[in-house]
Amino acid sequence: MASDKTAAAVQNLKKLSANLRELVIGKGQADQDEIVSIWENLKATPRTLRALVARNGSAAMEGLSRFRENLVKLPGAFRDSAVRHDAPTSDRTRSQAIFSNFFLHIHSTKIHPNSLRISTTWGLGISLLSQFAILTVTGILLMVYYTPSLDLAYNSIKDLHYVVPTGRLIRNIHRWTAHLMVLFVIFHMARVFYTSAYKSPREFNWLVGMLLFVLTLALSFSGYLLPWDQLAYWAITIGANIAASPNELVHALGLPKIFNLGDLNKELLLGASSVGQDALIRFYMLHVVALPLILTLGICVHIWRIRKDGGLARPGGTPTAAGQGVGTVEEIALAPQEQPSKTYGLMCVVRDKSPHTDKDPDETVSSWPYLLRAELLIFMINMLVCIALALFFDAPLSEHANPAVPENPAKAPWYFLGLQEMVSYSAFIGGIVIPTLTVIGLALIPFLDREDGESGVWFGGAPARKIALQSVIVGALAAVLAVAVPVNFGWLRNWFPGIPQLIIIICNPGSLLTLAYVIWSLNVMQQTRSTRLSAIALFTCFLVGFVILTYVGTFLRGPNWDFFWSKSSWPIH
């Protein structure tokens, strides 16, 4: 069949060719030209057709070709829609990059080199932000497996530790980063304090910082219950009872039970009268939703205020010798009649031999890349430290919670051990009054010390360094005394067994230590007539006291909270 058709087609072609030849040979030049032109047209047909389609072809063809074009341009168009500037190669485009990017616009486009100096901040704030980011990510990952129920909580932590791929590493990172964050909050606060960075106009941001400090501790504390091990159970039992400790005062005063406001605190915290399922779910809610939400909001306000308060507090002046004097205006005395009726402000007057082109009065540099690079470096160091800690040290997990037998000694995490030492004198004074007064006192510093002084400089002079050193000695002596006297000689109840409870509550080593610190700081104020120096004295004393009490609580307290010089001398039981 096919060969028949082929044969017929060949026959026809042959006929056509014969006819053509006959036509061409038999005709004149004009006909030949016409035939050639027909042939030319034939050859051009596809192109003509295409042109025709392009000119007034079908809408579908047009849409498709446009779509193809868009597809080719997609990467470029996508980039242009997200980023509205050229590649950051010049200072202008770098500034644009910072300014127009949601995630970067919290930075100023230019930054003073003194703000970038490591000794200005030690990168503590960015470290804290990095740690919070690490905690958020690892926390979300842990939530994948963790179950907040009495029956399953402990086992889900065990699963994370032994079964879940990378579970142990992620939990370790979460635990050690949380410790680091508490440590760095304290460092950060000390840095801001000793560089006078809380002074006007930054008073409010110091308050926000205090809020973040308290929230960080609350987050750590709420996280402690979740593994539902012995440490968790007893730490929260003790914590909840500290919240209920105003009852001590009610009882000591002999008031009726209706005044037991402490019970309300405890009930709100635990949802019951002892630590159980309700407490676990409450602490879980606080730890994963409520507190992180408030903390995130607080961090946003804190960073926003840094910008609104004029950037970081930093040592003033220009960093290079060439910049000295740039931006200063010398006043010229004129006779009264020659004084201009109008004054003109000059942004910058150059008074030097060398030209200061491309330099503003502060010699600021572009945030891209200098600031961003510094931030990335700090972030990477934090990642490195957290992962290294997590690789080498496992997060502790003691045995399953047992409400009948507390661990002996039952110790809180290290940053609460100073507090536990205070609580071992009086729950109400050591656990509520002194911490509350400390936080209020810290919060009031910028409002009570309003002396003018250079912000951003460490200590700010020899007198301050001298006072700080003296305060370290005074603070340390007083703290050692506060521990040593009760350890060696007992306290009021041992001396006067019948003494009223109220006196024991009010007059304990912790309250006397606080009083000693306050008296020392008032004495410094009296001697130096400086609120700043007095604040340095008080802050240094509290810092040293915190370190010493934490050390005592961590290393020198053993079973039954007895004093031991080393763990090796703990009794065997």
Binding site: E248, L268, S424, N494
Partner: protein, 155 residues
């Protein structure tokens, strides 16, 4: 002349605006108060504070029985029965019995065998709990009901 005694009348729109704002503020404040009511439970999930510790016949004088679920120490003497809470009145740890009294492992409070506080941060002595007798004769201890130290329940 407007003054303290004859103040300018508040324009109608200002009046409505101001009272509208106050109404909104009150509503928000009221909602917050209402929300704060939720976390305080109406009933606590714990079992009853009363429990049966056994029949008097089970205890010969001088017997000590510790009930770990309630952290209660029941003592039978010639004078009668006494129940003492083992929960430290300081911060709620469970005290341990030593040779001459009780020690708290958490913050080092010391108590005598009668529960009197001797040293440490405990603000008061260990609680003695009330004992009653149920109809079937068993001793019932109520951990929420404190009694005077030295009170013995006689059958």
């Amino acid at each position: 002349m407007p003054g303290r005694l004859e103040p300018d009348p508040i324009p109608r729109r200002d009046f409505i605006g101001i009272y509208g704002l106050w109404a909104a503020a009150l509503a928000i404040f009221g909602s917050i108060l209402g929300m704060m009511r939720l976390p305080k439970p109406r009933v606590t999930p714990e079992a009853s504070t009363k429990f049966r510790a056994g029949t008097p016949a089970e205890f010969s004088p001088g017997t000590v029985k510790i009930i770990p679920e309630y952290n209660v120490r029941l003592l039978a003497t010639e004078q009668g029965f006494a129940a003492m809470s083992l929960i430290c009145p300081h911060l709620g740890c469970v005290v341990r019995e030593s040779v001459d009294g009780f020690l708290c492992p958490c913050h080092g409070s010391r108590f005598s065998l009668q529960g009197t506080v001797l040293a440490g941060p405990a603000p008061r002595s260990l609680q003695w709990l009330s004992i009653t007798q149920a109809i079937d004769g068993s001793l019932v201890v109520d951990t929420a009901q404190e009694t005077e130290p030295g009170t013995f329940f006689q059958v």
